[in-house]
C-alpha cells in the first residue's frame, strides 16, 4: 500500500511538472505584459500553442538526418526526467535517489549536447552560430553550477536534493557562502534558460539569438517538444532554487495528503514568486552583447568558487 502510494506520488510529480511548466511561461509573459501596461495573453496560452503545434504537420529540411528527428524526443525526455527527480512539493519521492544533484545537472548537460548537435544537422549558418554559442555558455555555466553544488553539499554533507532540503530546513544558519551561492545560481539559471540579459526568448531573427537559432528549422510536434523541454528546464531551475534555499513547506514522502496539499500550495506560490521576480528583472534590464556574457557567467563562476572557499569559515570552526 505504501509502495503504491509512493509510486503515485512520484507519478503525480511527473505529471505536475509537465502541466505547470507551460503555465509558468504563460504567467511570466502575463506579468511582463502587465508591467509594460499591456493586457497580455491568458496564462493558458502556451498550452494552446503547444497543442496547436502538436497537431500540425512537420516540415523537415531535405537533408535532415535521423539524429535531427530523434533529438527532440531525447531532449524532452532528459529534461522531463531531470525535472521530475528534483523535489517540488515533497522530498524523498520514490525515485528521487536515482539521480543526485550532480546527475540532474549532467542530465541537463546531455539535453544541451543533443540540442546543440541538432542545431548543426541541417548545415545552416544560423544553426551553427547558435550551437557554438550554446557550447560556450554551457562550458562556463556548468562549472559554475558544479561549484554551487560543492558549496551546498559541503554544508549539508550530501548531494541528494531531498537530504539537502531537509538539512537546510532543519539547520537554519545565515552564511555568506550560501548567499553567494544563491546569487551565483540565479546568474546560472538566467543564462541557462536563455533569459534577458543573456538571450531574448521573445525574438526570432536577431543576430544575437542563441536558443532560437538552434531550433530555427524545427516545426510542428518537434518544435512543441523542444519548447516544452525549455519550459521544463526553467521550472526545474526555479524548483532547485526553491528547494535548496527556501525549503519552506516541503512535505516528506511519507506525509499524509493534507501536508502534501500544503506542500503543493507552497510550491505553486514559490513558482509564482520566482516567475514574478524573473519578469520584473527582465523588464528592467537590457540584453548584453554576446561577448559580455562570458563576463556575466564568469562572475557566477567566481561567486561559486568564493562561496566554496568561505564554506570553511563558519561559526563551528
Amino acid at each position: 500500500m505504501t509502495f503504491l502510494f509512493d509510486l503515485m506520488a512520484q507519478g503525480v510529480q511527473m505529471l505536475l511538472v509537465l502541466a505547470l511548466a507551460p503555465l509558468l511561461i504563460g504567467f511570466i509573459r502575463k506579468m511582463k505584459a502587465r508591467l509594460l501596461r499591456r493586457k497580455g495573453p491568458p496564462i493558458i496560452q502556451p498550452w494552446r500553442d503547444l497543442i496547436r503545434l502538436l497537431r500540425k504537420e512537420v516540415v523537415l529540411a531535405e537533408n535532415a538526418s535521423w539524429l535531427y528527428r530523434s533529438a527532440p524526443y531525447l531532449i524532452f525526455a532528459m529534461t522531463w526526467v531531470a525535472a521530475s527527480l528534483a523535489p517540488t512539493f515533497a522530498t524523498g519521492l520514490m525515485f528521487s535517489w536515482s539521480a543526485d544533484l550532480i546527475a540532474i545537472i549532467a542530465l541537463l548537460g546531455s539535453a544541451r549536447f543533443f540540442l546543440a548537435l541538432a542545431g548543426m544537422d541541417i548545415g545552416t549558418s544560423f544553426g551553427g552560430i547558435g550551437s557554438s554559442r550554446e557550447a560556450m555558455f554551457g562550458s562556463l555555466a556548468e562549472p559554475a553550477t558544479i561549484m554551487i553544488v560543492f558549496t551546498v553539499s559541503y554544508i549539508a554533507g550530501t548531494t541528494q536534493l531531498s537530504e539537502i532540503a531537509a538539512f537546510m530546513a532543519a539547520n537554519l544558519e545565515l552564511r555568506a557562502s550560501v548567499g553567494m551561492a544563491l546569487v551565483g545560481l540565479l546568474i546560472v539559471a538566467i543564462a541557462e534558460n536563455g533569459r534577458v540579459p543573456v538571450d531574448n526568448p521573445a525574438t526570432h531573427l536577431e543576430l544575437t539569438m542563441v536558443h532560437e537559432a538552434m531550433v530555427l528549422e524545427y516545426s510542428g510536434r518537434y518544435l512543441a517538444l523542444i519548447e516544452l523541454a525549455s519550459a521544463l528546464k526553467l521550472l526545474l531551475y526555479i524548483s532547485l532554487i526553491a528547494c535548496v534555499f527556501f525549503p519552506v513547506g516541503l512535505a516528506t514522502h511519507d506525509a499524509d495528503l493534507h501536508t502534501m496539499a500544503i506542500g503543493l500550495g507552497a510550491y505553486i506560490l514559490k513558482l509564482a514568486i520566482g516567475g514574478g521576480a524573473l519578469a520584473l528583472f527582465e523588464t528592467s534590464t537590457a540584453k548584453m552583447r554576446v561577448f559580455r556574457v562570458p563576463d556575466f557567467l564568469g562572475a557566477g563562476l567566481m561567486l561559486g568558487l568564493l562561496a566554496t572557499l568561505l564554506v570553511f569559515v563558519t561559526r563551528n570552526l
Partner: protein, 665 residues
Amino acid sequence: MPLYLALICVGALLAVSVYAIVQRRNPDISRNVYRLCIALCGVLFLAAVMPRGAHVVSTTLPLGLPWIGMHFRIDVLSAFFLAVVNLGGAAASAYAIGYGAHEKDPMRVLPFYPAFLAGMNVVVLADDAFAFLVAWEFMSLASWALVLTHHHEAENRRAGFVYLLMASFGGFALLMAFGVLGGVGGAYDFASIRESTKEAWKSGLILALAMVGMGSKAGLAPLHIWLPLAHPAAPSHVSALMSGVMTKVAVYGFIRVVFDLLGPPAFWWSVEPMTFGAASALIGVLFATIQSDLKKLLAYSTIENIGIIFIALGLALAFKANGLALPAALAFTAALFHVFNHSLFKSLLFFGAGAVLSGSGERSIERLGGLIHSMPKTAFLFLGGCVAISALPPLNGFVSEWLVFQAILLSPSLPQWTVKLLVPAIGVALALSAALGAGCYIRAYGVAFLGRPRSEAARVAQDPDRWSLGTMAALLALCLLAGLLPSLLIDTISPAAKDFVGGRMPAQAELAWLSIAPIAQSRSSYNGLLVFVFILFSAYSAKWVIHKFGSSRSRRAPAWDCGYIEKSPTTQYTASSFAQPIRRTLGVIAFSVRERLDMPAPGEMRAARLSVDIKDRIFDYLYAPLTRAVETCASGLNILGLLSIQEYLALVFGALVFLLVLVAI
C-alpha cells in the same frame, strides 16, 4: 597457473612478430597476424580475470641478469590492468583485420604490432626493476617504430623524433627513480624495495622522478608535447592502442611505484599529481577544442582524461596519507574506473576516426560534413563514443567523473588546510574541463558528421567493413554496460583498492535496483539503469501520445534558414568558427591567441582576411629555452673534439682522481 599462461602468451606474441617477418611474402599475413593477436589477447584477458589460487602469484624466470633472473607477479592491480590492456589489444586487433587491408606497406606494422602488445603486457607483469625497465623501453621502441609507419611524410618523421626524445628522457627519469628506490643496497626486485625504508627527501625525489617518467608516457602536461604528434601519426588501430592502452600502462607504473613501492604516503605527495592533473585536464581540452585534425583532437582529449585520472589518484593519496580509508578507496576506484572507461571510448573514437579516414581519405574535419548520411553506421557508433567521453549520463564516462566529484566532496575531512582548500580549486578545473570536453565533442561531431558535405570525398564516403563496425559496436555496448551497471565494475575494483589504499567501498551489488552509493544512500547515489529506463520510457511515451493524439505527418522541403539557404556548403559554420567563442574567452590566457583582422576600406575590392595566431605557451616558455640551452652546451662541448690525446688522457685521469676523492670522503 594464470601467470604461466600469461607469460606463455607473451612469448607467443613475440613469436608472432617473428612469424610476420618470416612469412612476409604471404598475401594473407596481415589477417593471420591480427587473428593470432586476438586469440592471444583473449587468452591473456582470461588469464587476468580467471580466479587465481592464491591472492598473489609470482615466479622467477632464468632470463636477463644471470643468477638473479626476472621476477613476475600477478596481484589484483596487475590483473586489472592486464584485463584493460588485453581488452584494448583484442579490440584493436579485431578492428585491424578489416582496417589493416588499407595499409600500403603492411610490413612496417606487422612485426612491431605483436611486439608492442607483448611489451605492454610484460610491464604490467614485471616484479623487478630490471624487467620493468626492459619491458618499458621495449614498449617505447615498438610504438616508436609504429609511429614511423608512414615515414614518407615529414610531419611523421618529426613526430617520431620528438617521441623518441621524450621517451628516452622519461626512461632515464624512471631509471633514476628505481636507482634511488633500490638505494645503496641495490635492491632491485620489488619485494625487497617494498621492505626497505625510505627517508622523506628520497620519497619526494622518487615521487618527482616517477611523475616525470610515467607522466611523460601518459601525456601529463607539460610533458605532453609528443603525444598529439605521435599518436595520430600511427595507423588508427595503433593510435587507439597508444592512446587507450599505453597511457594506462603508464598510469599502472605510477600506481605501482607511488602506492605500492614507496610505502606509506605523506599528505603533500598529493599536491603534485592533483595540480599537474588539473593542468593537463584543462590544457588538453582547450587544445582539443581548437584542433581541426580529428585524430589530433582525440590525442589532446587523451591528455585531458589522463589529467582526470591523476586528479583522482592525487585525491586517493591525500586521503590515504590521513588514514581516511573509505574516501581513499572511493578516489582510487574512481581513477581505475576512469582508466577502464577511457580505454573503451578512446579506442572506439580512434576506430571511428580510422573509419572516417579510410572511408573519405580526409583527416581534417574542415573538409568533412554530412557523414551521417554517407556513413550512417559509423556515425551512430561515433556518436555513442562522443556521448560517453563527454561524461554525459547514462553512459559510462559520467559514472567515473561522478565518482571523482564524490571523492572531492569528501575533502573537508582532510585536516591540512592547504589540501582542504586546494581540492575545491581542483574541482573547478575538473568541472570546467568536463564542460569544455562536451563542447569539444559537439564541435567534432557536428562539423564532421552533421550538416552538408564540404567535399566530394565526404559525400561519397562509405561505412567500413564488418570487422571494424563489429568491434566498434562491441566497444559501445561495453560503454553502455559500464554506464548502466557500474556496481559490477566497482565491486571488481574494490579488492585492488583494499590492497593499495587500505579500504574498500561498500559492496554495491547488494543495493536495491542496482544503483551505486559510494558512502551511503543518504549522502549520494546514482542509478544509471533507472535513469536510462526513464529516458527511454519518457521518450517513447511522448512519441506514442503525440502520434496517437497529435499528428504523425511530415514532409520534406528545402531548409528555411530565415528565408533562403545559400547552396554552397562553405557557408556552413566551420570548425574554427565554432571554436571562436571559446578561443576568444579562454584562449587569450591558455594559448596567447592573437586575432588579426585585415578589413579593406569601403570601396576597395579585395577580400577581408582574418588570421589567428595560436602559440603553445608551454612550448615557448619551457621547451624552446631548453633546446637553446642544450644547443649552447653542445657547442661548448665541441671544444672537446679539438683536444689532443694527451689532454684527453689528462681529463679522464682528472675525473678518476676526483671520483676517488669523493669515495674517500
